[in-house]
């Protein structure tokens, strides 16, 4: 059976050009970038080139890019590093209710174990916060605001430029988790007043296990792990050379293709949204109607449960996902869907479909054929009228 992969927000397939570049590194460059002899220098050159590619794509200086093991580590470094480095300035951290767990759980950990004063802002029914919402809760002891750029579950984009301005005027460090947006929507640190940006290669057709944190020049941040002092002491540990090269190539390709590809994917996304609304009239589109990631179509189908939707789609040849993990007896519904104000039963029926570079119109049309009978069948079992 032909598989149709519609979970690009979870991860993307590695671009062949990326895989080829990585394979070249693994087979031809074995040096440690910290070594001074020829083998080390050639590894260093590869890391430097990747750093230049990442910096260029973000409008940043090379010295502002720190490679990490992925988005989660970048988020941890941003939050923990800022909190430690700015202890003398204050203890207040502000974030939102729909952050990825890498931010939300880290912020809660800082509150519970390190006495940070944590404010978690609610979002509106579309998953948005405004700069005014953020400004209202800031005080003279706030040191860090972290608001994600594009939400991984519902695709909502936050007004990070406006939020960044508010933070800058008060000398508060501003972090954004841009794991879902870099590569998908324009992101230029010259125009967005943000101090820290988390990036993750496998969300834009690069390898898993490598990411980066952009740290604006002059931003105070402490290291989280100790060791040999790589990455100018900000993220110590021998560099993942092949992964970093993969990140660089993937970033360059994403930058080159973004214009046409984002338009194409947005058209597919809209085809899903319109098709679902026509065929399943009581489907609830989750996230913002217009301010959303170009590849994200997410819904709640009242009377269905997310895991049963995902398994049914899987059996029909489609990969999608649900915020309702339900892998254990005590799984909570998605904190993101709940934050939108939907009741728990409705939130259970969430489904996220995210298109990508290889998705075609025919794939979308096949999905639109397959999905309505699945929803109807699950409703007939649960007895919630369609």
């Amino acid at each position: 059976m032909k598989r149709v992969y519609l979970d690009h927000a979870a991860t993307t397939p590695v671009d062949p050009e990326v895989a080829e570049a990585m394979s070249r590194v693994l087979t031809q460059t074995h040096g440690n970038p910290s070594s001074v002899y020829a083998e080390g220098r050639s590894a260093r050159a590869l890391v430097d080139q990747a750093r230049a590619e990442v910096a260029q794509a973000l409008g940043a200086d090379e010295s502002e890019i720190v490679f990490t093991s992925g988005g989660t580590e970048a988020d941890n470094l941003a939050l923990r590093g800022t909190f430690v480095a700015r202890k003398a300035d204050g203890d207040g951290i502000v974030t939102t209710a729909i952050e990825h767990h890498a931010v939300l759980d880290t912020a809660h950990d800082l509150a519970e174990r390190h006495r940070a004063r944590l404010t978690v802002l609610p979002v509106d029914a579309h998953g948005r916060v405004t700069a005014a919402d953020v400004e209202r809760v800031l005080d003279e002891r706030t040191v860090l605001v972290s608001v994600m750029h594009g939400n991984n579950e519902i695709g909502t984009l936050q007004p990070i430029a406006e939020i960044g301005l508010v933070c800058r005027s008060r000398a508060i460090s501003f972090h954004t988790d841009a794991v879902q947006t870099v590569g998908a929507v324009p992101f230029d640190v010259a125009t967005i007043p943000v101090d820290l940006v988390s990036v993750n290669a496998h969300k834009f057709y690069g390898p898993k296990g490598v990411g980066a944190l952009y740290i604006r020049k002059g931003t105070r941040i402490a290291t989280v792990q100790t060791g040999g002092g790589q990455e100018r002491g900000r993220r110590t540990g021998t560099e993942n050379v092949a992964g970093i090269v993969g990140l660089g190539v993937a970033m360059r390709l994403a930058q080159d293709r973004r214009g046409t590809e984002s338009r194409r994917q947005a058209a597919l996304r809209d085809r899903i949204v319109q098709g679902v609304r026509t065929r399943i009239p009581d489907a609830i589109l989750t996230g913002h109607p217009t301010e959303r990631l170009p590849n994200n179509a997410s819904f709640c189908f009242p009377g269905t449960q997310g895991e049963a939707l995902v398994v049914s789609l899987d059996l029909a040849g489609f990969a999608g996902s649900s915020g309702s993990a339900c892998t254990s007896g005590n799984t909570e519904p998605s904190h993101v869907i709940i934050a939108l104000g939907l009741d728990r039963a409705t939130a259970q029926g969430s489904l996220r479909l995210t298109v990508g570079r290889e998705t075609t119109e025919a794939d979308v049309d096949a999905l639109l054929e397959a999905l309505p009978p699945i929803v109807a069948r699950l409703r007939s079992i649960s007895a919630v009228p369609a």
Binding site: S322, G323, E332
Partner: protein, 134 residues
């Protein structure tokens, strides 16, 4: 919810063929007309719920039907259990346990066993209701 895949996706491969069969072609979906017994059980943490309705004649379950709002395992468990209960004496039906459901389904993924328990809870509640009404 685990991270990023917090977005929780479980492939069908984690379920046995028997379980997938009960999920895709569930037995005894619906409600018995004017039931002799009716009972529900819910898993408050995940929001899943199963209701079982029974027709009882001369101490024997002659018809058992279910409705489930829930995951693959919850639906398959209720389907398997209503199949097991049909034709049994009330006393035997009362002794049906999660392990009987797991046997029919060829097991469930480790952390899904609460789903079998929910089906059994609904059946026992329905049997008790029938006893009270009788």
């Amino acid at each position: 919810m685990s991270r990023e895949a917090g977005e929780g996706r479980q492939g069908s491969t984690e379920y046995s063929a028997a379980c997938i069969d009960h999920f895709t072609a569930p037995r005894n979906v619906g409600a018995v007309d004017a039931p002799d017994g009716s009972g529900s059980d819910a898993n408050p943490s995940c929001g899943d719920r199963t209701t079982i309705t029974l027709r009882v004649r001369e101490g024997r379950v002659v018809e058992a039907r279910f409705r489930t709002f829930g995951c693959t395992a919850a639906i398959a468990s209720a389907s398997a259990l209503t199949e097991l209960a049909g034709g049994q004496t009330v006393a035997d039906a009362q002794r049906l346990s999660p392990s009987d459901v797991l046997r029919v389904l060829g097991g469930l993924p480790p952390r899904k066993e609460a789903c079998a328990l929910m089906a059994v809870g609904a059946l026992r509640a329905a049997l008790l209701d029938a006893k009270v009404k009788a």
